[in-house]
Amino acid sequence: MTLMYSLGVNAPLVPIAAHHSPEEVIAHLSSRLETHGNNTTLLLRRADEWRVLGEPSKAANDYEHALKLEAMNPLAYLGLARTRISQKRYRDAIKMAKRGVALVDTPDAQAAFHAIVASAHAEMNNHPSALVAWKAAIDCERPEVDWFLGQARTLNNLGLHPAARDALLAARNRNPSVVLQRAWIDSLILCGDFQIAERQIDAGLQRSHWKSSWLLQRAKLRVARNELILARQDAAAALKEIAIRTTPDVENPLLEQQQHVAQSLVLKLSQAGPISNSSGN
């Protein structure tokens, strides 16, 4: 039926004891490979384990070895293409994904390959090619949220802001993810659709207990509207809240990102005027 090679992680395979660590599984697979010799399935499984251990070059070796044995194996191409992305070898990733996509025959099965091609092109700032690939990836039954976001980023990079906005709205109609909603609000601001954006943000602020991400989004809106003092107040309020939620010298990658955005906004807008006390909401 449907060839769902959507994610070539682990093909169903040799029963390997449930509680074994990747190292033990690798040792087991290696000893089987030693004697079974050329077995694609074992190689793919070991490659996946190498990826779990964060050893992309060893993973790539195994995928390549598997492809030498079986040049038509789409899972090997998918794994290798993903590995190449993690190694930042984007051209290789595209080459492998394109070979793989030719070996599967339904939109669902092809989508994951198109998504790799798209993200590799996007990384290399080949936006027109990335756009073509994103569209192909999304043309399946259940596109991932990340793919919709990738497509919108690419459209924005091409200066096609209204198209990005419309694509995100269309995406939201297919998938209720809040992450798509937030990206859509960003695109509304970029397109100057301030009123719709403001309504969305106000509702978000209303609903949220922690508000920093919404405050930053409103700060963006206010910068776009040239309400610089208000924008700065929002950024400062976000900073205050982030300080409450984080511990000095203890990492928090996502909140630190917000913190950097807020800090640079405050800095950039420092000429705009004093911060009033009624910040945030």
């Binding site: 030693e34 004697t35 994951a112 991932e144 949220v145 993810s177 992450v179």
Partner: protein, 691 residues
């Protein structure tokens, strides 16, 4: 909820599978008339304050109807027609008169994968002839118990009794007493899994039946195949599933056949979870990760297996948004790969575990998470009250904020501020002990309780107090802790907290490995009984980074004894390969001295396995049998001594029991090669007996 996703279903119509399934011409599987029509369920999914899904499977076509009501004697409401979604295996769809949407097809293994599958592995596809029915009852009263029955037209198939009931979620603005049952890594279908289940039921019968079931993944070993779900999950837990919603997290074993990207496979066929904030939280738009509120407790389930775990990935971005809106009193997060463990897995080394700790834990603790539940590592590990433990490797210094045992009858409960306050302390629990073989590799320094025994966890919420109780498979209470959230409590990190003892005697799993530093010599802790008989040295295995021992018995019988472990063992295992096959070689067990030990010998020439015991210098064969194995690859030999017997396993295929003439005395392990044999071995693993 899957219902929402159906709106956007594209009508890709069914192509007939090239694979033949055993079905009748009309698409019905041939089922005996005396067999129950329902083979899976009915079970409950995706409860909200006003709705629930009732799911079941049959092997024949039925006219599905669900009747329900607030008393089992009066099932006054009815679901039928469009209120019940029909899904099916591809063979049923292939002969359907109406076109079937792709989303309504149950999992069928892609052809390319089937070709590569070992004959020993199960076909992961849905059982041919399967119909799955998903009935959505909506417009229900909040926090209310309903009874239900499943019918084929007017014929009752299941329920309409006191055991088949469901409960809508309670109001989110009122505290509700709640009991949760937390299980991980249970899906073996074996006796330990059943004992764990039984122990929970007995414990609950005298106190409170769990209101909800959280499964932290690995519920269907080995590959999450559809039939493995049936035998290792549904068949075992049905008496609970018919009246208790199971909220699942996907494990890596389910990930062998199911995928977080695009959400397909037997796991996603089995479950329906909220995706559009039907039960609280914000919309995730995917069944791979989701959240829900039960009363004043907010739950978050993540996919730690096969999705992007990084801060910019959609899952972390959704999590951030979800945590912004939480205004509950309690926050419980669960997923499969534990952020902290030294059980059968190591969170300092494995990427999924490291990433859940470094990317996800900071977000959760910034939102005041109370409990983080995981599995994967086959052990029970329960932390002290911790905060900010994101470094690799994990250390206890500066991240433990209360190093007591949290036990009300010990050091006293952990204290936290009322509500959800950032960085106010978390208890992290690994509950991967639900049925698989348990083991411990090391000591995770932030843990307060480490139990290497099968069991499960019960969590009780009552007003401002959360109580966690670990019940082992024998029904014993092995750990209890409490968190009380009241007033304002400030914590500061303890620079030199209590730490669990890294007592080697507690480490059950002992793997003997070598590296280049041992090359060309006899490794430490190994001694040769008679070094004139031959030699043993470490060599690198050609073309691999691994080292193995090579034993040559040129001049006489050579016995190499390992001194690293003493005392009773549960199991030992070795991969052994003949380089020269003129003489037998094997594994030594229960070594006292040269005159008293047991040994399993493999003779490649005669293709036999011989188990003998040497007592007072006299050798006596206890078992001698022909073995049909492929000698061109290393033989996996496992010996499991239990009282007066030894279970022998060769290559996971041959399995038999040797009866000893008297109980085996605990002793050392080793390798024996008779004169003329040359062997290599690796993967020498010993599981010590639990005290």
């Amino acid at each position: 909820m899957r219902k929402c996703l159906f709106v956007a279903v594209c009508f890709a119509f069914v192509l007939v599978s090239a694979r033949s399934h055993l079905v009748c011409a009309d698409g019905t599987a041939s089922a005996k008339s005396d067999q129950p029509k329902i083979y899976r369920g009915p079970y409950l999914q995706c409860a909200t304050t006003e709705s629930i899904a009732i799911v079941w499977r049959t092997s024949t076509d039925i006219d599905p109807v669900v009747r329900y009501g607030v008393s089992p004697d009066n099932l006054e409401f009815e679901l039928q027609g469009d209120q019940i979604i029909r899904r099916m295996s591809v063979d049923v769809a292939a002969v359907s008169d109406a076109p079937i949407a792709r989303a309504n097809l149950l999992y069928d293994e892609p052809l390319g994968l089937g070709a590569d599958r070992s004959p020993n592995d199960r076909d992961p596809s849905t059982r041919p002839g399967t119909r799955q029915y998903e009935a959505f009852a909506t417009g229900l009263a909040i926090g209310t118990r309903y009874y239900y029955g499943v019918y084929d037209g007017d014929e009752l198939l299941a329920g309409a009794d006191a055991e088949h009931h469901f409960q809508t979620l309670p109001k989110t603005d009122e505290a509700t007493d709640l009991r949760l049952w937390v299980v991980g890594d249970s899906g073996t279908g074996g006796s330990d899994q059943k004992l764990v289940f039984q122990a929970m039921r007995e414990f609950s019968a005298s106190s409170r039946i769990p209101d909800y079931f959280l499964h932290v993944g690995d519920m269907a070993y080995g590959d999450g195949a559809d039939e493995e779900f049936q035998s290792n999950f549904f068949d075992i837990y049905q008496s609970t599933l018919r009246n208790t919603v199971c909220w699942p997290a996907m494990g890596n074993h389910e990930g062998h056949t199911s995928r977080g990207i695009s959400q397909f496979g037997p796991y996603y066929d089995a479950y329906i979870v909220p995706t559009a904030s039907e039960a609280g939280g914000v919309s995730s738009g995917t069944e791979a990760y989701y959240s829900f509120d039960i009363g004043r407790t907010h739950f978050i389930c993540l996919d730690s297996h096969d999705l992007d775990r990084s801060p910019n990935g959609a899952m972390a971005q959704w999590l951030m948004s979800d945590l912004e809106v939480v205004q509950a009193d309690w926050l419980i997060a669960f997923w499969h790969h534990p952020p902290y463990t030294k059980g059968s897995h190591d969170s300092d080394r494995e990427q999924q575990l490291v990433e859940m700790r470094t990317f996800i834990m900071p977000l959760l603790e910034a939102a005041g998470v109370d409990l983080v539940l995981a599995g994967h590592s086959h052990i029970y590990e329960r932390s002290m009250l911790i905060d900010g433990a994101y470094d690799t490797p994990t250390v206890a210094e500066g991240v433990v904020v209360d190093d007591g045992d949290g036990n009300p009858s010990g050091d006293g409960p952990y204290r936290k501020s009322a509500g959800l306050q950032p960085h106010n302390g978390t208890v992290a629990i690994v509950a991967g002990h639900g049925g698989g073989g348990v083991s411990r590799k090391g000591t995770m320094p932030i843990m307060r309780e480490i139990v290497v025994e099968n069991g499960s966890l019960i969590i009780d919420l009552h007003e401002d107090t959360l109580t966690g109780t670990m019940i082992d498979r024998s029904g014993n209470k092995r750990d209890q802790f409490q968190i009380i959230k009241r007033g304002v409590v400030e914590h500061s990190p303890i620079s030199n907290p209590w730490q669990p003892k890294h007592d080697l005697s507690q480490i059950t799993e002992h793997v003997v490995t070598w590296d280049s530093s041992f090359e060309g010599r006899l490794p430490p802790k190994w001694q040769l009984l008679d070094d004139r008989a031959g030699r043993m040295s470490i060599e690198r295995r050609a073309g691999t980074p691994y080292y193995q021992a090579v034993v040559t018995a040129a001049e006489g019988n050579l016995i190499a004894i390992y001194d690293g472990i003493d005392g009773p063992i549960n199991e030992c295992q070795v991969y052994l390969e003949f380089v020269r096959s003129e003489a037998p070689a094997g594994l030594v067990l229960g070594w006292q001295d040269a005159n008293n030990y047991c040994s399993l010998h493999i003779d490649q020439t005669t293709e036999r396995a011989l188990f003998y015991v040497v007592r007072g210098g006299e050798r006596k064969a206890l078992s001698d049998r022909k073995i049909d194995v492929d000698f061109s690859e290393p033989l996996k030999i496992e010996l499991e001594p239990v009282n007066q017997i030894v279970e022998v396993q060769i290559n996971d295929e041959i399995e038999y029991t040797v009866n000893l003439d008297q109980p085996l005395k605990a002793g050392r392990l080793g390798i024996e090669a008779e004169r003329g044999a040359k062997i290599r071995f690796a993967g020498f693993t010993i599981e010590k007996a639990r005290p």
